[in-house]
Amino acid sequence: MPAHGFGCDQHMWRLVVPLLERECTVVLFDHVGAGRSDLSAWSRERYSTLDGYTEDVLEICDELALGPVTFVGHSVSAMMGVLAAAREPKAFSGLVLLAPSPCFIDDPAVGYRGGFSAEDIDELLESLDANYLGWSGAMAPVIMGNPERPELGEELTNSFCRTDPDIARVFARVTFLSDNREDLAAVTVPTLVAQCSGDAIAPPEVGAFVQARIPGSRLVTLNATGHCPQLAAPEETAAAITDFVAATR
């Protein structure tokens, strides 16, 4: 069950899904507010913390009667997996935390380096604003789905990283201002921490921090560079996931 992070939608997994499907059944979804999810289901109250997203993950497991799943959480979704597995360990046979960060903001008081300051996050919000100028007018009808206008389908695939700007702002805050360092110890299911080389978003010591805090977890550093190994190195990423699945079966 791969869960996409902040920025895009389930298309992020497009390159690894065919590889995973050789070994596993894959359940894909868009977080509420992203991709082709029902935007009317989004509310500021529910999605202003990771709890709303975490509940969604558990609801999907429950609704589809999936039995224990291997949850693959990329970036912020890794922490959704941590919270979900802490709450209902029985729903998970394992967690793969891909390029995770329990806290993006530096905490000098305890010597924790997340890589960013609160001001940096404000700057990201400005970047979001600067790139959403034309959103509401032009993109909303496309994103909302136009079954009677199939020609918009092409445009939709070209816009999978676009989200309603209000929703994106709230999700950006949740992503970059959440602090889940204390939640890591509550994970009891087998866990693989897979970090990238040269990740501009999650520095290497963050991966080590996560591994050290989750009892019995294992850390691998992928050769993939950047923050999105599922795009940069789909084979390596898929292999790390399927090896883990095989080991936890």
Partner: protein
Amino acid sequence: MSTGGDSENGEHRHPGKQPGEDHAAFSALLEDSAEDLYEHAPCGYLSTLLDGTIAKINKTLLDWLGYDHGDLVGRRTFSDLLTVGGRLYHETHFGPLLRMQGEVSGIALELKATDGSRLPVLVTSTVKTGGDGQPLLIRTTVFDARDRRAYETELLRARKEAELEREELKRLNATLQQTLLPPTLVNVPGLDVAAHYHVASTDMVGGDFYDLFPLSAGAWGLFLGDVCGKGAAAAAVTSLARYTLRAAAVYDPDPAAVLGNLNTVLNHEYNGHDPRFCTVVFGLLTPEGDRGGFRITLASGGHPPALLLRADGSADHLHTPGGQLIGVLPDAHIATATVHLAAGDTLLLHTDGLTEARPARNSDGDRYGDEALLDFARALAPTTASAAVAAIRDLLDTFGTGVDDDTAVLAINVPRPTSEEQP
């Protein structure tokens, strides 16, 4: 880029000139060097490896940022040149899009120069693939977007301001609307009363109004009306109509006289250039001592007929035919009707927002209409004031966005004696 090919075939030759002269002049103008075009183009050029490492960068971009060639090539990544926020955006949006689509265009980012300044740019990238279709490197053009971003920032600021003002306007409208309606209806001994105001749009003040108030001993006045139009101008007429009706009823409570006076006032106030008018029904309520119940005389100026829902379960329009719009003609004809309200009878006044609503979700659908409302009333009777108003509220809710005009309803009911209500 191809250069100079066409000048050879003579298609662009100017009359009276030799081909040779032409070519030489063009060559001079074109500075025929691809390298010079690259290095000193009016935009920044940048090629990176797939991991972002800078492989090639032109002089224009180096000059903008204050770097030397050796500082960057092979040493730094494109994302190193971005602000931290821009880097986050690059990693979470730009990069994935580029991987997925092979190109991304017109993304607004900021580059950091060596002197600490920031350069707003618009970035377009394409992935260059090898013969086997595998991606090799990323080519990026960078346009100076200082003026454009200043303009866009101004647009964003203006949009935020407009949103705030719209909120403020909504609040003002809601407040203004409240001042045009009685906060609570007065208590009339022996009468059950209820009212509801449905706001169709929070952007405009509607023109519907109603009131119920005591007159001389043992008599009450009530009215319900609809001013044509919406917004501030309509609200001014609504306000004028309300206090004129209250004052006119004290001066002479005869319902036809009250509406006659309102007609005169509107006619004088909005004479000629900007005629303002409304439809109103005004009622004079008096208890009928020995007989029980109330007697009500209704005067109507162009207003939809009231509905009378009887204790025996029947319902009908209470017609006041021929009443003319108030405020248009100097001597509007005003129709009256008098009826006795016995125990269990309910009188329901409404504005045409209800009957003009389009129940189907399709905005081209048929309007609800007087007959459908009458059927609704027949199904409802016998009822009480609060039950009738609640039923109309529910009905309006089912219409959803099909209600495009404000709607006011006012119901009065003579309760059955409590003994009758016991099973």
